[in-house]
């Protein structure tokens, strides 16, 4: 391959190919592969689902079935930051709904939505295991606890 063509190969493609090669022939590889593919692409485009199917020798229909069953998998692009607001029991009784309301207002999106500037994707989850600090939310891997509606703005501002 000449230098010019080399630059044209999407590094994501290379990573996906490596990923598929690494898992080829392993039992139960589909979900870990989809998880890692989603890490690479930020979501699971239809083409990636097809390539995963081919790479693991699994019918695309089954790949699609799995990708739509689990809440973690996203078939549409996600924002740069994923914001998961907890509405589990502990957060519910300590006013999680008010926090969610404020966030929805600030971002102008509802559960599952992504802001126009691609900054945030909002999801509602039931418990992130930090119930002692209820109400809570998680932005990417970072937990924020002891939330009140007026703390929300300041926290969101920390994420680009």
């Amino acid at each position: 391959m000449c230098d010019v063509c080399q630059d044209l190969v999407d590094p994501k493609e290379t990573k996906l190919a490596e990923l598929l090669a690494g898992y080829a022939g392993q039992k139960g590889a589909l979900i870990p592969v989809l998880q890692k593919a989603q890490e690479i692409y930020g979501y699971l485009p239809a083409d990636v689902l097809r390539r995963v199917g081919r790479g693991l020798k699994i019918p695309v229909a089954r790949v699609y079935g799995v990708a739509t069953f689990y809440a973690q998998f996203r078939l549409t692009p996600m924002g740069r930051n994923v914001l998961r607001v907890c509405l589990g029991t502990a957060c519910h009784v300590r006013g999680g709904a008010k926090v969610l309301e404020t966030i929805e207002q600030e971002l102008g999106v509802k559960d599952g939505g992504t802001t126009e500037d691609q900054r945030f994707t909002l999801e509602i989850v039931a418990c992130i295991g930090a119930c002692g600090l209820a109400p809570t939310m998680m932005i990417n891997d970072q937990v924020h606890g002891r939330l009140t509606p007026d703390k929300v703005g300041g926290i969101l501002a920390q994420y680009e």
Binding site: K27, G28, A29, L30, I31, P32, L34, Q35, I58, R62, G65, V66, F69, Y70, A71, Q72, F73, R84, C86, G88, T89, A90, C91, H92, V93, R94, V125, A126, C127, I128, G129, A130, C131, G132, L133, A134, T136, M138, D141, Q142, V143, H144, G145, R146
Partner: protein
């Protein structure tokens, strides 16, 4: 030969242990060795390292600052405290004497970041970066406590210097949580220094597989994942199954909202889970295992990954473990966000890479589980109990608990209670003691209304039931269940109809959809409850609800559907009057259900400041400097903003 840097390094070239050439005495040798040769130098090296890992009170050796860096404390700034401590120790020239150790969760997250000074055991809570200089100076230079930074009891205002004096901890019996918060979970030698891997060493050296099963049976341990099935018996089924290839699984899906004990154990003491699984695998005859952990717990997954790698490097996972001929390989699978995957057959489908849908049992996993092979699945906390049973014996274990529910259980106490956190107590303690003594009662002097136990499969119990001993059978009889051990406390401001609706919403959206009663039944029940909270309930609704609840319970395929009606049935049983108030009087006694509330302004109290009118999103408050403000109840959207805004308590919600 270079000197031993960590406890796991060979003391000299006479130590032959490696994963490829394992020594059967390896574990005992690390803490009491050397065993194969006698050398005072080697002995001194080991005891020196051990002293650092196990600080004893009064000694200068092993001075440590334990900082909780679990999920909760990390979110409250623990990592900043760690760097501040390291900087400060250096500034004060103490960095070679005092170590900073990042630990897992103590289960006291609300008071985090938490810091413990060893060997003095002093505890500091809610520590800020700015407190660090004073703590280091006083504790290590002047050997004094910083009185004004100690934990203060929210009720009595008294300060407490050690866990033993903090009400929340004083009445707990911490067995499974014993190491959590006291060791660095990212270092296997810390677990080994605290008696770790002695249970598996004993099993491999002194016991047959059947003897291990008998020991676990005798301990009375029952599954901590929900159903409370006797663990030893479960193991024996899988052991008796025909077939060479068997699997074991650790269920770390922890989907019950309000439960976080499994996260605590995985983050704080991951090797205990590995050791429990090793013992189980040996007893059952399995050579491969999986930890299935929910993706929402990234730190737990990370600690588990590190632990597995370190156990492999030490020869405690892999082939011919401790020269016994026993092989065991362990890997992690991250869940992908489906509550139903906590159900054992759905979980196995998920590991196989399929949609996580439950299957009909029989065949039970013990006969045909993962990839059709005999499989034994246990919960995180169940596995973490096992090393204690092997090391200290079934009789020791069985001294805790009630006749039919042995040992300790971890509860996650949350909601409207003063002290929230992980509470480990012997089975059989009363709910009242847990909520009022350990939990310190209800926040803000409010009145207790209910405790929700067991998550979406459990029930809500009222004050009259609080003296029940918490064990599997008693709670099931009362219409709740131990479940995973989540205890969410509710006060007079919680509406029980709203809670019933909340749980149904959860079960309804998590139902996998395979069977109709669960998929449709929970939805219809939710619709009725939703109607009731909107003031559109009908007299016959409660009978319909009960009828539907029984149908869903009896005809659903898996535990999700079978237990989904429990929160509704128990609230109907104990809080029927609240349902009736919603239906008949169109009122919500707890003032929660928005549609049933009215907001008005008390003209006497109104100071005519106009704040509420400016804040009201519906622009339905009018008045001026001379006339008291009034709310146009027709236009009011019942958002409650005015109530929160008024500084004079003039807004009335009824």
């Amino acid at each position: 030969m270079e000197t031993m840097k960590t406890l796991l390094d060979p003391c000299c070239e006479r130590c032959t242990h490696t994963p490829e050439t394992p020594c059967r005495d390896y574990i005992r040798c690390l803490t009491a060795g050397p065993l194969c040769h006698d050398d005072p130098g080697c002995r001194a090296k080991r005891s020196g390292l051990l002293a650092e890992l196990r600080p004893t009170q009064g000694s200068e050796e092993g001075q440590q600052i334990l900082v909780c860096a679990g999920t909760g404390c990390a979110s409250s700034g623990a990592h900043k405290v760690v760097s501040a401590l390291e900087g400060e120790l250096q500034r004060q020239g103490l960095d070679s004497e005092v170590k900073v150790v990042a630990t897992g969760c103590h289960g006291f997250c609300e008071q985090g970041p938490t810091l413990i000074i060893e060997p003095a055991h002093t505890v500091y809570t809610l520590v800020k970066q700015g407190d660090v200089a004073e703590i280091v100076q006083k504790e290590f230079k002047e050997k004094q406590r910083v009185e004004n930074l100690l934990y203060q009891d929210p009720l009595t205002g008294q300060s407490a210097a050690t866990f033993a004096n903090i009400r929340f901890f004083a009445q707990q019996t911490r067995v499974v949580l014993g190491n959590c918060g006291f060791i660095n979970p990212e270092r296997i030698e810390e677990y080994i220094a605290h008696d770790g891997y002695q249970g598996i060493a004993k099993a491999l050296q002194e016991m047959s597989s059947d003897q291990v099963i008998e020991e676990v049976k005798a301990s009375g341990l029952r599954g901590r994942g929900g159903a409370g099935f006797p663990t030893g018996l479960k193991w024996s089924f899988c052991r008796q199954s025909a077939g060479e290839k068997k699997y074991i699984i650790c269920n770390a899906d922890e989907g019950d909202p309000g439960a976080f004990m499994d996260r605590g154990v995985l983050e704080g003491d991951p090797h205990a889970v590995i050791e429990g699984m090793l013992i189980g695998a040996y007893a059952i005859g399995a050579d491969e295992g999986y930890v299935y952990c929910r993706a929402e717990y990234p730190l737990a997954i990370k600690h588990m990954e590190i632990a597995i790698r370190q156990a492999e490097a030490a020869g405690l996972l892999g082939n011919n473990i401790l020269d016994s001929g026993f092989n065991f390989h362990l890997s992690i699978r991250a869940g992908a966000g489906a509550f139903v995957c906590g159900e054992e057959t759905a979980l196995m489908a998920s590991i196989e890479g399929k949609r996580g849908m439950p299957k009909v049992r029989p065949p039970f996993p013990a006969q045909s589980g993962l990839w059709g092979k005999p499989t034994n699945i246990n919960n995180v906390e169940t596995w973490a109990n096992v090393p204690h049973i092997l090391r200290r014996g079934a009789a020791w274990y069985a001294q805790y608990g009630t006749e039919k529910s042995k040992g300790t259980k971890i509860f996650a106490l949350t909601g409207k209670v003063n002290n929230t956190g992980l509470v480990e107590v012997p089975m059989g303690m009363s709910l009242r003691k847990i909520i009022f003594d350990i939990g310190g009662g209800i926040q803000n002097g409010k009145k207790f209304k209910a405790v929700q136990i067991g998550g979406p499969s459990g029930g809500c119990l009222p004050d009259e039931m609080l003296d029940l001993p918490v064990d599997y059978d008693t709670l099931t009889r009362a219409g709740a269940m131990v479940g995973s051990g989540g205890l969410v406390v509710m006060d007079e401001t919680t509406c029980m109809v709203d809670i019933a609706r909340f749980f149904l919403n959860f079960s309804q959206s998590e139902s996998c959809g395979k069977c109709t009663p669960c998929r449709e039944g929970t939805k219809r029940m939710w619709e009725i409850l939703d109607r009731i909270t909107k003031g559109e309930g009908k007299e016959e609704d409660l009978d319909t609800l009960e009828h539907l609840a029984h149908v869903v319970k009896e005809t659903s395929l898996c535990g999700l559907g079978q237990n989904a009606p429990n929160p509704v049935l128990s609230t109907l049983k104990y809080f029927r009057d609240e349902f009736e108030a919603h239906i008949r009087d169109k009122t919500c006694p707890a003032h929660v259900c928005a549609a049933l509330l009215t907001y008005t302004i008390d003209a006497e109290k109104c100071k005519k400041c106009g704040l509420c009118a400016r804040a009201c999103p519906a622009a339905c408050i009018s008045g001026d400097k001379k006339t008291p403000y009034v709310i146009d109840t027709e236009k009011c959207i019942k958002c409650g903003t005015c109530l929160d805004t008024c500084k004079f308590g003039a807004v009335v919600r009824a």
